[in-house]
Each structure stands twice: as structure tokens, then as C-alpha cells.
Chain length 365, copies 2
DNA sequence: CTTGGGTATGAAACCGCTTTCTTTGTCGAG
DNA sequence: CTCGACAAAGAAAGCGGTTTCATACCCAAG
């Protein structure tokens, strides 16, 4: 049970005691040297057993493997990385880690990454100009997936400078030379709007979104406006509102509209489920029954959507798939760095629930 | 704009073209050598400028820094790690990444980690015996925080073998020699139960938990039972049920109980918010009004709790704090490896909302 | 009995950085 | 004027791997 006193200073220099003799293997993890000694071969052979077994005779290979087991040898990841310039670690930067939204994306990403033998280094980039220190562990990463909710050239530049393969997730449409995973928010909004139009007047349709600068908000609004226009009734400014992605904003907006008697018989496409829920709440407070007096559609299909009453018709974003696709794209790029940039667009799907199914329809069906 | 064709094989050996001359810096990232050359100093000096500036004269330091900027030099993380045996990357293994629950924890952990200049490598360990490859990027990690919902010596052993500093989160109480972050579920359950007892009969109190094997379930049940016992009425077996942490289980259980006429005037402590919501749902379907005919308390204070109607009284777990504490503990351990193992217990808090505030009480107040 | 082509190994060159050891000045003190 | 202490900078020894290049052997072909 010999202990290495050496380490107590926490800054022992290289070598010295170590290099002199391989006699009593100290409590330092076994190195390839130790294995080589134990198996009475050269370190080259050990390395080959691990990386190119077919170059080694069966006999010695067995010997080496035995030594490896005996010593519990694990190749040093840093040394390995230094040579191979590879870590099998992918970074993923989210605008904000919390909330079920992003965690679903993480879920998919993690699964896909592990399937290919990669690991995931997450980071909420909600710091911008905080610490001066390196924000992301660039340099350790084999690749980086970035999700930008709002334009942010800063991180892009940093990442580019570091020369890390990059994949953009659901963000900057203007990103030229990068692989991009997109969610077809516009299409989702179109489907939702069409659904509304099938059961209410174009002039009675409303869009209540989040911040106008937000990429997602913009394309959802666009889809809404497009369908209305195509139906022959271009939306008036009053039919589209922008605010926050919050319950309160939805509730406030709806309360105002109801006060002016505008929401009865209307159809509302909310920017996300929270807003939708706010609208429903305001409606209920004002005595309006949601499926019957007012149609409401959300966005994102959060857990909320299937739990509230009435259950919420909403546009489901395939988050886990987005995460998985991002990772897959990243791995592709890593493996063939010179392939042309690709962009993948994932389609959301409309989940019809009670909030757009008035009684007459339910029976009618 | 010269390009390196070299890399096309994707397995170029070391050196050759590179070592021969430092003339035209290839598109390979600048190394410390390049900086040294540019500044006309030795690499040792460059290193010192970065790590021990006080050993370098102001003049040369400036020169070196200029070179660094000019070349956009970033020290190679692998080489650095090889020497310092440090990566500033912390691993965090969760039983299952998805769900707002864990993402909140991640949020806290991430914030704390970045505050100290560390990075977070997450991983859902929902694989056990999947891929044979190394599951966690041990070896790259400076430390590892593990959250085990159910006993799982496997990972523990692996991690121990890798010699990585370890912190256990809200899990195995029997873990001897490790730092542990705990959530005082029992205390939370006690508070909740006491709250119930203040407005209903002990014999009408029920606990509806998740899986019995689950650590959390166990301690929550324990707290419930303890308070009842202390109030002089030890809970009968029928007052405690175990199932799943799901809406459906809560709803099913409640439906059954209501069918037997047992829930009117009762108080229910659910194992989590989902179960609680299931109970509320069943009650509503059976015509019971929740704050008035039946008290319900949840656990976890998920977003759901404040959004449903009635809003849910629940026990809030300080998840972000848990994550932050875990990271902090890990960093402590890394910085002083020989400090005695610590365990930190975080207290949940009871959030009283409508589901336990019958009308008479609200007015009474 | 050479000679040529495999096959199995070892020796050694690096990867890029940190840190000890040395070396070289510079000065104030003796 | 000489000497020792001290500050600044370089040379070089690794860290633990991977991969080239060279070596040694074995065997069939000439």
C-alpha cells in the first residue's frame, strides 16, 4: 500500500522518480510504458494491439492484453488527443439550458452522440460578455453545435477562429458556409393557420407571438400571414401582435382583445404554448369557452399542452430529432471535412386536440 | 490563401513538412513554437508569459503578447492537459436528461461551473450495458457528479477505477467515502404532511408515491408516515400507495379510492406533481372540487404546479442549488483531494397554493 | 545458396506544452 | 575590482501516446 508522497505538492515536475525505474508501479495510473514492460514488448506493439490488432501476432496480442487487464491500463486521453487531434467530444451551445424545450433537444443529441461513441459538452451561452476566460472548451471539442435564438455573430466568430467544425441549429438563416439544421416553423405555422381557417373567418384570425427579433417568431408570423394572404384576406396589423414568450403576455393580450369584444368566434395562433395558455386563461376569466367561442392553437407541444383543459392543439417541434440531426451532421462534417455544407429542414406537425374542436365538430365527425 | 493538401488523407503522420521549417505557417493552428519564433524568444518564455507573467520582464512579455495576438495563438488543450493533468471539464451523469426536472439541475450546475471556469460534460447514463465503449469520457474529466435514482454500483465502480473525484447527488445514502449532495425529502414530506394535518384528519391522509425502490419515494413516504405517527395515528397500509411517477398512476389510484368513497374530505400527498395532477383530474371527473372536498399536495414544484387550476400546493426542490452545490463540492474536492468527505443536505420548501386552500380558509384568513 | 517479399517487432521521431536546470547578465556590497 | 545574490531567458527533459522507418526473420522462388 505504498503511497506516492510526490504528488502532495500538486505540481510535481515530469519524470524524475518515475522515469528512473519501472520497478514498483506507483499509484499513478499505469501508462503504456508499464504495459509494455509487463508484457515484455515495445510500446509500439501495445499501441498496435489497441489500434491495429491485425498487425500483431495472436500470441503477443494475448500477452499484451493480459498485461493491460492486470494493470488496469487505460490510454491517457490527453496524449491520445495530442496525437490524433481528436477527443470524441462534441460541444452544444444552447441559448439557455433550462426548460423542457431545450432538454428535449439535449435528449436527442445525447442519444445520437453516444450511439456514435461521442460525448456531449453542454453550455448555456447566456453569458456573452461575462468572464473573459475561454467560454467554450474549444480546443477540446471535435465539433460544435450552436443554437442561436437571436443573431449573435460573436460566438460564431470565436468558434470559427478556433477552427472547430460547426453546425447551426434552428437559427441564423443567413449563415452561409455552415451546415444547418432548421425547423420549418413557417410550414408549421401554415398548417396551423390553415386549420384555423377551416373553422373560422380569415378576418377573425390572430397571431400572438413572442419577440419580433426572434428567428422563430418571425417565421411563424410569416407562415401565418402567408396563408391568410393566400386565402384572399391579407392580415391587418391588428391581427398580429408581438410580445414575450410568456403566459402573462398571452393573457394580457387576450384580455385586451376581449375587452374590445374582438375574440368571440375568433381563432388564435399563439407563438408558443405558454402564450396559448395565457389566452385560454383570459378567455375563461371572461366567460368564453375555448373550443366553442374561441379557437386556440399553441406552438411547441410542451407537456403543458396535453395536460391543460381543454387540451391544446399545437404545433409539435421534433426536438429530439433536431438534436439528433445536429449531432449527426456534426459527425458527418468531422468525418468528411470537405463535403459541401448541408442544410436539413425538419417539419413540425400539427397536433389537433380539444382547443380547436368545438362540440359541433366533435359530433359532426 | 494556401491550403494544406496534406490533411486529405486524414492520417498524416507527425512532423515531416511541419518540423522542417517554420517558414510559411500552414493552416494548422499556430503552436507555441510559432509564437516563440515570431517573438524571437524561447517557447519557455511564451509559456511563462501565459502562466507566470511575473517571471518575465515587461518588455518581452509585451512582445510575446503581440505575437500571440498576431498569430491568434491558443494553447493546445491536449498538450496542456498532458502536462497539467487537468482539463477543467466536469462530468455530470443524470439518470435521464429529459424533463424539466433535470434540466433545472443542469442549469444550476452549468452556471456554477462556468463561474469557476469549468465546463460541463453531461450524459444520461440510461444505457447500463449498451455499448462496450467507454461510457463516460473518464480520463478527460477532472471530476464527476453522479445522480443515481436507483442503486447502481456499476457506474460507481467504473468511476472509482478511473480515479476521478466523485460527488454523489441525491442518491445512495450508503455511499461511504464520497461527497454527497442530498435533498431532504423527508423533511419536505414532513412539512407537507403537517400542512395537511392542519386541515384534515390523520386517518384521512394519504400518500401516493412513485416506485417503492426509488430513493426519493422512500424518504418522502418516510416523512409522511413519521408525521402521522407522531400525531398519534400511525398510517394504515391502505393510506400509502406506490406506483409510478405519472399522471396516469395518480389518476387511476384516485379514481379507485373515490369509487370506494374514501377521498371526500381527505388530504393527499402525492409523490410528485404529475401524480398530484392525476389525482386532481380524477377528482374533477368524479365531481369533487379540489380545494374544498379534497386537499392535494404535489412534489417538485414543476412549472405545471403554478399553471394548472387549482394551482398546486407543492414541495419545491431547490434543483438549481443542488446542481450548483454538486459542482462546488466537486471543485472543492479537486482542489483539496485529501479533505474529508462532506455531505450537504438541502432543504425543500413547501409552496402553498390553491389546492390546499379551501374557500373557507381563504376567507377566514 | 542467394534473393525478394511478407510479417512481426522495435527504435525513434514527433504532438505541443510545462517546468526544472543552466546560463548569462546586472548590481550593490565588501 | 571581485564576488555572490538575483532577475531574465534559454535548453532540454519529459507527459503518454501514434506512426514512420528500419530491422530481423521466415520462406518460397530463381
Amino acid at each position: 500500500m505504498k503511497r506516492v508522497i510526490n504528488k502532495s505538492t500538486s505540481r510535481s515536475p515530469g519524470g524524475s522518480a518515475r522515469a528512473s525505474s519501472r520497478v514498483a508501479s506507483a499509484r499513478t495510473a499505469a501508462s503504456i510504458q508499464d504495459v509494455a514492460a509487463e508484457a515484455a514488448v515495445s510500446i509500439a506493439t501495445v499501441s498496435r494491439v489497441l489500434n491495429n490488432p491485425n498487425l500483431v501476432s495472436e500470441g503477443t496480442a494475448t500477452k499484451v492484453r493480459a498485461a493491460i487487464d492486470k494493470l488496469g491500463y487505460r490510454p491517457n486521453a490527453f496524449a491520445q488527443g495530442l496525437m490524433t487531434r481528436t477527443s470524441r467530444v462534441l460541444g452544444i451551445a444552447l441559448p439557455d439550458i433550462h426548460g423542457e424545450f431545450y432538454s428535449q433537444l439535449l435528449l436527442g443529441a445525447d442519444a445520437e452522440a453516444r450511439k456514435s461513441g461521442y460525448h456531449l459538452l453542454v453550455s448555456s451561452d447566456a453569458r456573452a460578455g461575462d468572464m473573459p476566460g475561454p467560454n467554450l472548451a474549444f480546443g477540446l471539442l471535435d465539433g460544435l453545435a450552436i443554437m442561436l435564438t437571436e443573431p449573435n455573430p460573436q460566438i460564431l466568430k470565436e468558434a470559427n477562429a478556433a477552427g472547430v467544425p460547426l453546425v447551426l441549429v434552428d437559427g441564423d438563416p443567413s449563415a452561409g458556409a455552415h451546415d444547418v439544421i432548421l425547423v420549418d416553423n413557417e410550414s408549421g405555422a401554415r398548417d396551423a393557420t390553415a386549420h384555423l381557417l377551416s373553422r373560422c373567418q380569415p378576418s377573425h384570425c390572430y397571431f400572438v407571438g413572442g419577440p419580433k427579433e426572434n428567428f422563430d417568431t418571425a417565421s411563424r408570423a410569416k407562415g401565418f400571414a402567408a396563408v391568410l394572404s393566400e386565402s384572399g384576406s391579407k392580415p391587418k396589423p391588428a391581427q398580429m401582435a408581438f410580445g414575450q414568450y410568456s403566459f402573462e403576455w398571452g393573457r394580457g393580450w387576450a384580455a385586451g382583445m376581449i375587452g374590445r369584444g374582438l375574440l368571440r368566434g375568433a381563432g388564435v395562433l399563439a407563438g408558443n404554448d405558454d402564450i396559448a395558455y395565457g389566452v385560454i386563461h383570459a378567455a375563461r376569466e371572461a366567460g368564453l369557452v375555448v373550443p366553442d367561442d374561441l379557437l386556440v392553437i399553441g406552438f411547441d407541444d410542451t407537456r403543458l399542452a396535453s395536460l391543460i383543459q381543454p387540451t391544446l392543439t399545437t404545433v409539435r417541434i421534433p426536438l429530439p430529432e433536431v438534436g439528433a440531426a445536429a449531432v449527426r451532421a456534426l459527425i458527418n462534417r468531422i468525418e468528411s471535412p470537405d463535403a459541401p455544407a448541408e442544410s436539413l429542414m425538419l417539419k413540425p406537425s400539427l397536433i389537433v386536440r380539444e382547443s380547436t374542436s368545438p362540440r359541433e365538430w366533435r359530433h359532426g365527425k
